[in-house]
């Protein structure tokens, strides 16, 4: 069901901004789709294009050296604001497969993991160094190895990172989490039987 993430080596794209919110990642008018695909068109729309719809040449995603990059390197509290999973779908549709930042909003972080996108959390000083390297020498490659939990910067600098073991397994194997949960449906049924006795009012049908 979901996309796997194992490893990649790709151009790193620096986005040196803090508190990048999901409205900036994908504006609300692109949320009217009932599909998960095609959202890359609206990614960072207001930052990529000017009022006339022309590309802003200085925005990193528009610079030729960063084209085709798959690793977005950003600053603190990345993905804050709205819960819209469209933000992750837009990043992936555009070609990104991993984000590197000192911190993320909780919902965005979850949404990444559900879609096979790797959110790498590194100490602020290490992210700062990566951003500076990518800004100083555009086009540098970043290597990410999920199994070994290590990221390599353009100059070969090595950054180990931590990840929740279950999330790691899901990413490596592309597990269908719903199928996995449904394999414990007996536990869910047992819980419901017990709860119905204690709090019967919570099983009232909302239809009426």
């Amino acid at each position: 069901m979901r996309e796997r993430f194992t490893s990649l080596s790709a151009v790193g794209v620096p986005l040196d901004r803090g508190n990048v919110d999901t409205d900036a990642i994908i504006p609300a008018r692109y949320l009217k789709t009932i599909k998960r695909t095609g959202l890359g068109e609206g990614l960072f729309f207001a930052w990529r294009y000017d009022a006339e719809g022309k590309e802003r040449p200085d925005f990193p995603l528009n610079r030729p050296e960063y084209r085709g990059g798959k690793v977005l390197v950003a600053w603190e509290n990345f993905g804050c604001g709205s819960s819209r999973e469209h933000a992750v779908w837009a990043l992936m549709d555009f070609g990104f497969r991993a984000v590197v930042a000192p911190s993320y909003s909780d919902i965005f972080h979850n949404n990444c993991l559900k879609n096979g996108m790797l959110p790498v959390t590194l100490p602020a000083a290490e992210v700062r160094a990566l951003l500076d390297e990518l800004l100083a020498a555009p086009g540098g490659k970043v290597e990410v190895d999920l199994a070994g939990q290590v990221l390599k910067g353009p100059k070969g600098d090595v950054h180990p990172f931590r990840i929740d073991p279950f999330a790691k397994t899901c990413l490596l194997e592309g597990l269908d989490e719903i199928a996995l949960t449904l394999s414990s449906v007996g536990e869910i049924e047992r819980y419901e039987r017990e709860r119905k006795k204690v709090t019967p009012w919570l099983f009232r049908d909302l239809a009426g």
Binding site: A24, L31, K32, D106, T181, L182, I188
Partner: protein, 466 residues
């Protein structure tokens, strides 16, 4: 010795897997924007909705707020998304408050009105402002679409226990200072990421005196401080709000429910990972100047100078914010003119919000050149406001009186700002482009927004109302 959050959490654990628990979800609210892909996923996998009767669906983000919506919605994609919600709800047996239903409204407003949000429950919605519902003493949180699909199929979610933060709010609020000012001050104090990884319980005498409407405003914006969960211990005010509502515990189970709820508040010796205190006895009405909700200041203040900021990252962020907002350091907030005024949203579109704004608007006129919208949060709020004559107060003053929906909070429906327009807004986010591409948002309370409409600029409501 457990917190309110921990007590509710423990009652919802179905099973454990390492640090993760499978959390049972009692109630699930669904709107048209974040659900279509979840229903599509179920169909593709041939899965059923586990408990349709635990879910309530409503269209709110896309709906126009003008009367023509009853006959047509011009925007094809919006129309299709609303139709998809209808199809998905009807096809799976999920109750729906459709666009013409008198109970239709903003998802976070209609759940409490129906009485389906109760102390001690776990409730989710594919919307970050679901924390609003924590005001009832519930675990309420926003989730992404994949998680919506997981809940539809299993009635559960794998979750990690968040850290516990208590924000103690004390002191009597001065006249015309509101719960909105309290939460803006909290966010300014702890920052837009200060609550990341936490559940925040709001406590203290200021909170205890607040109505359910005020408590919902506070919990609504917890996510703007980074916390997915905001919650408040249930008390007599909570129980009185709920009693007799259509989906509250029925009379035969009411006493049992209340006695269960009375055991929920955090124990005196509960352990907190972080504690924050805010004395509100001298709190001023707050207004945001920038593009993050943490950029809030008392209305008597001035636009801050990025040069005075020591941290280079924050300095750069402030410079970009000021450039986007078209503001210079040192400008007094009360010298900032507005083009539009929006009174509405899941933050501030309940009856008390409209009463507070109407009290300021009464007998006054919206300044020339300013367009001001009042958008009740639900059909029930609208009806009550009309019974109280608030619609007439607003109309006489030159405000537009609209139909319920998310409206100008988020730029998904026809109500939005044009590039460069500046808005005094009672909503929750002042992000770049949030209210429409290029639009500039100043967050504030309903009375402050009404005062801005009348003065044509940001103003201290206490001067207008004097």
């Amino acid at each position: 010795m457990a917190t309110l959050f921990e007590k509710i959490w423990d009652r919802h654990v179905v099973m454990r897997r390492g640090d993760d628990v499978l959390l049972y979800v009692d109630r699930h609210l669904v709107h048209e924007v974040t659900s279509p892909q979840a229903f599509e996923g179920l169909r593709q996998a041939g899965r059923a909705v586990r408990r349709p009767g635990s879910i309530l669906a409503v269209p709110d983000h896309n709906v126009p707020t003008t009367p023509e919506r009853a006959v047509r919605i011009d925007d094809r994609e919006s129309r299709e998304q609303i139709e998809a919600l209808r199809r998905n709800a009807l096809g799976t047996g999920i109750p729906l408050y459709d666009i013409s239903d008198p109970r239709q409204g903003i998802v976070h407003i209609i759940g409490p009105e129906a009485g389906l949000v109760q102390p001690g429950i776990a409730v989710v919605c594919g919307d970050s402002h679901t924390g609003t519902l924590g005001a009832f003493g519930a675990i309420a949180f926003g989730i992404g679409t994949s998680e919506v699909e997981h809940v539809l199929a299993t009635q559960t979610l794998w979750q990690k226990m968040p850290r516990q933060m208590r924000v103690a709010v004390t002191g009597a609020l001065r006249p015309l200072v509101t719960p909105k000012d309290v939460i803006l001050a909290v966010i300014a104090k702890i920052g837009a990421a200060g609550g990341t990884g936490y559940a925040i319980e709001f406590s203290g005498d200021t909170i205890r005196r607040m109505s359910m409407e005020g408590r919902m405003t506070v919990c609504n914006m917890t996510i703007e401080a980074g916390a997915r969960f905001g919650l408040i211990a249930p008390d007599g005010i909570t129980f009185a709000y709920l009693e007799g509502r259509p989906l509250a515990p029925p009379p035969g189970q009411w006493d049992a429910a209340v006695s269960c709820w009375k055991g929920l508040p955090s124990d005196p010796d509960a352990a907190w990972d972080r504690e924050v205190a805010l004395d509100t006895s001298s709190l001023e009405p707050h207004v945001t100047w920038g593009t993050s909700p943490q950029d809030a200041l008392p209305v008597g203040g001035a636009v801050p100078d990025p040069a005075a900021q020591a941290d280079p990252g924050e300095r750069a962020r402030m410079r970009r914010a000021l450039e986007y907002m078209g503001l210079s350091p040192g400008k007094r907030l009360t010298d900032i003119p507005v083009d539009k005024v929006f009174i509405g949203s899941c933050t501030n579109a309940r009856i008390e919000d409209l009463r507070a704004a109407a009290a300021v608007a009464k007998g006054r006129k919206v300044a020339p050149g300013v367009t001001a919208l009042v958008v009740p949060g639900s059909g029930l709020v609208k009806r009550q406001a009309e019974e109280e004559g608030l619609d007439k107060v607003f109309r006489d003053a030159g405000f537009e009186w609209r139909l319920p929906g998310c409206s100008m909070c988020l730029g998904m429906n026809p109500d939005r700002l044009k590039p460069g327009e500046r808005c005094a807004s009672t909503s929750n986010r002042n992000f770049e482009g949030r209210q429409g591409p290029g639009g500039r948002t100043h967050l504030m309370s309903p009375p402050m927004a009404a005062a801005a409409a009348i003065a044509g600029r940001i103003t201290d409501v206490r001067e207008v109302a004097r």
